[in-house]
Symmetry: C2
Subunit: 209 residues, 2 copies
DNA sequence: CTTGAAGTTGACTAATTAGTCAACTATAGT
DNA sequence: ACTATAGTTGACTAATTAGTCAACTTCAAG
């Protein structure tokens, strides 16, 4: 009973967009309220604090935006290396799109948040780190599967996964810094090198290029 | 004439430390003043604004901290691939040290600043980006030299340099996020993979491991 | 030992910040 | 149609913020 409202969702969306664009500490509760078309009293009706909103906003973003992309790319029926390729491509496409629409390229919101100093509350950092961990585990699974399928020749799966994941996040962050999505274009090819992909796989890559 | 003072230097050092640790937007002028043992009036005697101090602090940090490490590692007389190895090792050592002394590992201050949203003034971002660019060019030079020396087998030097640099910055940022320097340990080995190092070089790596 | 420029200080403003609250309003379920 | 309940509002506080300023102190050079 009582009246209904989507103000809560609007606040989550606005909080996410602004934090993503300007960084956690540069965003004020007032700015989030204005962007959401909601008065501050209502903000605190729904959330205990700015940190509480941000924490929920991350989770909400992950469920609605990140997860669908990850699940499409990393589906078990997709060949292991192809999973990485699809993911890189999907992220590249999304970078290009936000740059076109917005003028600025915004990297991964979780990575941005996680990297910010202890100026961001522990609960928020933890939420961001958790989302990043889920992503990294998908990389690791794909690489492990690729090894089992004999597509790549590496000793330590864990170490290789760390490297591929570092390469990806590094390139993504640099694309944001340079405001240039092209930095991410040959991520898949570089990944094949990192994984010592067997010649057949590399040839496939070259042919399709 | 007039009295002498090192307050300016103290402010630069304090500004750098705090910004590095907490992030640009989480640091206040008051906090910098307190850390430097300087009153706010003096702050504005030396600097026009927080942005102006930060810009200078970056430059000062680069000259006194970053540059010596880079010049030692990337000296022209050092064999090309060895340069990268020395640099990775120097950064790893420095990460371990700050973690031990401080409890927290702090990645590259310029990378941190550059990645922050437009909440940071353009002049500051530009100073950070410029320092990063100088670093990346050293990577590129080393890789170009390695190719000329026949140590590696790659087609596109530019593209390979981008990848190695992305890998490095990604690993460094992730080390900070996880507060764990060990993420950076096999950076050199992974780099050799990225560069398709010729077998002799790889064997060298394995022997020394 | 004078002098004047460089350095210091603390009190000040004006704006912005997160967060509070009591009164108000709309409506879903009865 | 009634009413409890969820949602809304704008005015409020108290703290913090960047930045100002005129008076004061120190000391190197002449």
């Amino acid at each position: 009973m009582g009246r209904v409202s989507d103000a809560r969702e609007r606040l989550l969306v606005a909080g996410n967009q602004l934090t993503w664009k300007h960084g956690y500490n540069a965003v004020t509760v007032d700015a989030i309220c204005e962007a959401a078309g909601v008065k501050k009293g209502s903000f605190y009706h729904y959330f205990d604090s700015k940190a509480a909103l941000t924490k929920e906003a991350i989770e909400s973003w992950w469920q609605t935006k990140s997860r669908p992309i990850l699940e499409a790319a990393f589906a078990a029926e997709v060949p292991p290396l192809e999973r990485l390729r699809r993911y890189f491509d999907a992220i590249y496409q999304s970078q290009v799109r936000t740059k076109r629409e917005d003028g600025t390229l915004l990297g991964c919101p979780c990575f941005r948040l996680a990297i910010e100093g202890d100026g961001v509350e522990p609960e928020v950092r933890e939420a961001a780190r958790s989302a990043l961990g889920r992503k990294r585990r998908l990389f690791e699974q794909a690489i492990s599967d690729a090894k089992d399928a004999g597509l790549i020749d590496i000793g330590d799966v864990e170490s290789a996964a760390q490297a591929v994941y570092s390469l990806f996040e590094g390139a993504s962050a640099r694309a944001r810094i340079q405001n240039n999505p092209e930095i991410m274009t040959d991520l898949y090819e570089q990944t094949l090198r990192l994984l010592d992909a067997v010649p057949a796989e590399r040839a496939k890559q070259k042919r399709s290029a």
